[in-house]
């Protein structure tokens, strides 16, 4: 019983510390910005911009009103977030408008479509603006990423069953009287498995489904 409480307690504490404050998508620095004509704050993870193979994503906006000369040069960098920011385009501009256009790489639509967080930063003389939006790249139902995921998860599930199995000698040393046969307690084992699966689902929910809309990286 003590061992069950230790595992459960550590797991609950680890999950609890993952809960940060909620933050919405927004543009910082006094600029205005749209993606394919839609304002950024409407493109959250539940309502991403839908793009298909061959489509382009156009990020455009106006520099801050108090930015001074309207003819000054600006530079826009566009990133896609996949464990850190991966730069995908850098474009120069001038005047009161900033932005850039990115063509969706074919490798994404064929290998790993899905929802991505696209971020942009624009910088000019005396001003800096940043913004982000969620983009859903449409692809086929069977993708390489999905196949790899199914194989990895399947291998993990198969091997975790073996990982919980004790060596035969341990059963006699810890689970029963030496020299006697110990009887498996199936009910307690299923309860422990159910709690572990429940904690995993909670962890995945907090980190994945809710997490991205909280975190600005």
């Amino acid at each position: 019983m003590r061992r069950v409480l230790v595992v459960l307690g550590v797991a609950v504490i680890a999950i609890a510390v993952l809960i940060p404050a909620a933050l919405a998508q927004e543009v910082t620095g006094g600029c205005s910005a749209t993606v394919n004509g839609q304002t950024l704050n409407t493109l959250d993870i539940k309502h991403p911009l839908i793009v298909e193979k061959g489509d382009t994503v156009a990020l455009t906006g106006q520099i801050p009103a108090d930015a001074g000369s309207g003819s000054a040069a600006s530079e826009t960098k566009i990133y896609v977030e996949v464990v850190g920011d991966v730069p995908i385009a850098t474009q120069s501009g001038s005047g009161r408008f900033w932005g850039g256009t990115v063509e969706i790489p074919d490798v994404l639509t064929s290998l790993a479509p899905g929802v991505y967080k696209v971020k942009g930063s624009a910088e000019g003389s005396g001003w800096l603006c940043t913004g982000s939006a969620y983009v859903k790249i449409e692809g086929g139902p069977l993708t390489a990423a999905a196949a790899v995921g199914v194989v990895a998860a399947g291998a993990g599930i198969a091997s975790v069953l073996g990982a919980t199995r004790p060596k035969q000698t341990q059963i006699f040393n810890e689970g029963g009287t030496a020299g006697a046969t110990a009887t498996p307690d199936t009910g307690a084992r299923l309860a422990a498995d159910a709690i572990t699966i429940g904690l995993f689902v909670l962890l995945a929910f907090l980190l994945g489904y809710v997490g991205p809309s909280w975190v600005v990286l």
Binding site: P166, G176, A188, L207, P212
Partner: protein
């Protein structure tokens, strides 16, 4: 209770449990991303597999119950 042997847990293999948990976390991260439910980022592609590994390492350390 009289006559009911005390339940005892026999530990499994925590390292193997960690490895399994990492695989499960990575696989779930990729599949759920393909379903369009979340993005691939630090949370889902690194933190989830590591914490999943720790969770399943704990489960393996707990092992199986016997009476």
């Amino acid at each position: 209770m009289v006559g009911v042997p005390q339940r005892k847990w026999a530990s499994g293999r925590p390292l193997a449990g960690f490895r399994s948990g990492v695989l499960i976390g990575l696989g779930v991260a990729l599949v759920v991303h393909q379903l369009g439910w979340w993005v691939l980022d630090l949370n889902t592609l690194v933190l989830l597999p590591v914490l999943s590994g720790l969770l399943f390492a704990g489960r393996a350390w707990l092992g199986r119950p016997y009476r």
